[in-house]
């Protein structure tokens, strides 16, 4: 990482498996870079103070609020966003389960929910319903009432474990 003129900082990060090099302002958030620079608008901008979870991405294996991570702090990191879940046109098992269980209504919370669930299943492949609820405790949903989301995450975990 080197400091450029006009206070820009060069960073290099891996987003959904692709190495990206770009020059960012010190105050720019990872959320702003993902949406504004990389045009990865699947990650949603909600409250921007870490209370809604709509901007959740997986940073080096852990769910984080991308609105509270400075892009410069993600230098050298691996970022997974909702765009990185589907493979070769096939939805990720979590995405399929969300659709099958009616866990998507307006959809605004969905990318963040998926990324929190993804981080959970990477650490705990067979979570209890309570563990799922705790994992998505920072993700607000104003449509579903959460039960369909919890069902979907448990179903995706069950499917992964039985296959």
């Amino acid at each position: 990482m080197k400091q450029l003129p006009e206070d820009l900082v060069s960073i290099r990060l891996t987003v959904n498996g692709v190495v990206r090099s770009l020059d960012v302002h010190p105050g720019e958030t990872l959320l702003e870079v993902l949406r504004g620079r990389l045009r990865l608008t699947g990650t949603k901008r909600g409250c921007e103070v870490g209370e809604c979870g709509a901007c959740t991405v997986v940073l080096d294996g852990r769910a984080v609020n991308s609105c509270l991570v400075l892009a410069v702090q993600a230098d050298g990191a691996e970022v997974l966003t909702v765009e990185g879940l589907a493979r070769e046109g096939a939805l990720h098992p979590l995405q399929r389960a969300f659709l099958e269980h009616g866990a998507v209504q307006c959809g605004f919370c969905t990318p963040g929910m998926l990324m929190s669930a993804h981080a959970l299943l990477a650490q705990d492949p067979s979570p209890t319903p309570d563990a799922v609820r705790r994992a998505i405790a920072g993700n607000l949903c104003r449509c579903t009432g959460y039960q369909a989301i919890v069902d979907a995450v448990l179903a995706a975990a069950g499917e992964a474990n039985s296959s």
Binding site: D7, H25, G50, C67, L70, A137
Partner: protein, 288 residues
């Protein structure tokens, strides 16, 4: 958001040198879960961001010379999961596991929670009752400050402009001295505590409480010890009259205000309720 300058030092010495050269020019940042919110709300406008996430080992947890030593960069998630913290300071592990949300706990750090100096900071009452000290490192070396002397008011600490919070330590007392933490928020996740209570005590075979410490969060300008309550519990067996007297004492000792999160009377009342829960956890745990 704007911040004119940014530095991500690779060593603590480098970070301290930058800070020493221009103390007003740098605001330390680690997880950013408090600072970025304040920047977003226009309550903070750092001239430069001194990012501490690039310093290897800054969040390490170790046990040495009978002390648990936690690097300031340890995240709340790390504290909540760490077996040594769970053994020697269960109240701290529990508090860390209740902060914010999983995403917040993956970024927010112990050092940041201390430096931010909120009267409602959940890690602080547990640190009070386990007798923790905070390491401040500046150009002249390290000084250890008792946790009770660290915060001087809401958002204020004794950290000098050229100091960084680098570690926290407390005795590795094993399961001999037990500790518990209880809090109340509007909901379980992402709610700043309206009231919090931490208790530590050794429970003798006959149930007698010894070395009792009680600390209260969010009911005074800083976290406070509840010494009168401790006096009621010291050498006593929990239950009946003792419990009533202790709850009366803790309600007297709390100095809450009414603000947007809770009213003064409610906070005072809840100090008693949370004290009962915390002591019950300690007494029940000693029987298992």
């Amino acid at each position: 958001m704007t911040a004119p300058r940014f530095a991500r030092p690779r060593t603590l010495d480098e970070a301290l040198a930058l800070l020493a050269a221009d103390p007003e020019g740098w605001t330390p940042v680690h997880g950013g879960t408090d600072l970025l919110v304040r920047m977003r709300m226009g309550m903070a406008a750092p001239r430069g961001l001194l990012d501490l996430t690039g310093i290897p080992g800054f969040g390490d947890i170790r046990v040495e010379d009978g002390q648990v030593v936690i690097g300031a960069g340890a995240t709340h998630a790390a504290l909540a999961a760490d077996e040594r913290v769970r053994t020697h300071a269960p109240a701290l592990a529990r508090a860390a596991g209740l902060i914010g949300s999983p995403a917040i706990r993956n970024r927010g750090t112990l050092g940041g929670n201390l430096a931010n100096a909120s009267p409602a900071a959940d890690t602080v009452p547990p640190l009070f009752v386990v007798g923790a000290e905070v390491a401040l490192r500046g150009p002249d070396g390290v000084r250890w400050v008792p946790i009770e002397d660290f915060a001087s008011g809401p958002g204020r600490t004794v950290r000098g402009a050229t100091d960084l919070v680098v570690a926290v330590r407390f005795p590795a007392q094993g399961r001999e001295v037990r500790s518990a933490f209880e809090r109340l928020g509007t909901r379980k996740a992402l709610a700043i505590s309206k009231v919090s209570v931490a208790v530590a005590a050794r429970v003798e075979a006959d149930g007698t409480l010894r070395e009792v410490r009680v600390a209260l969060g969010a009911v005074a300008p800083t976290v406070i010890r509840a010494r009168e309550t401790e006096g009621v519990l010291e050498g006593a067996v929990w239950g009946g009259e003792v419990a009533r007297a202790a709850c009366d004492a803790v309600r007297r000792e709390a100095r809450p205000i009414t603000d947007l999160r809770a009213g003064e009377a409610y906070r005072r009342e809840m100090c008693g309720v949370l004290l009962e829960r915390a002591v019950a956890t300690i007494v029940d745990g000693s029987r298992s």
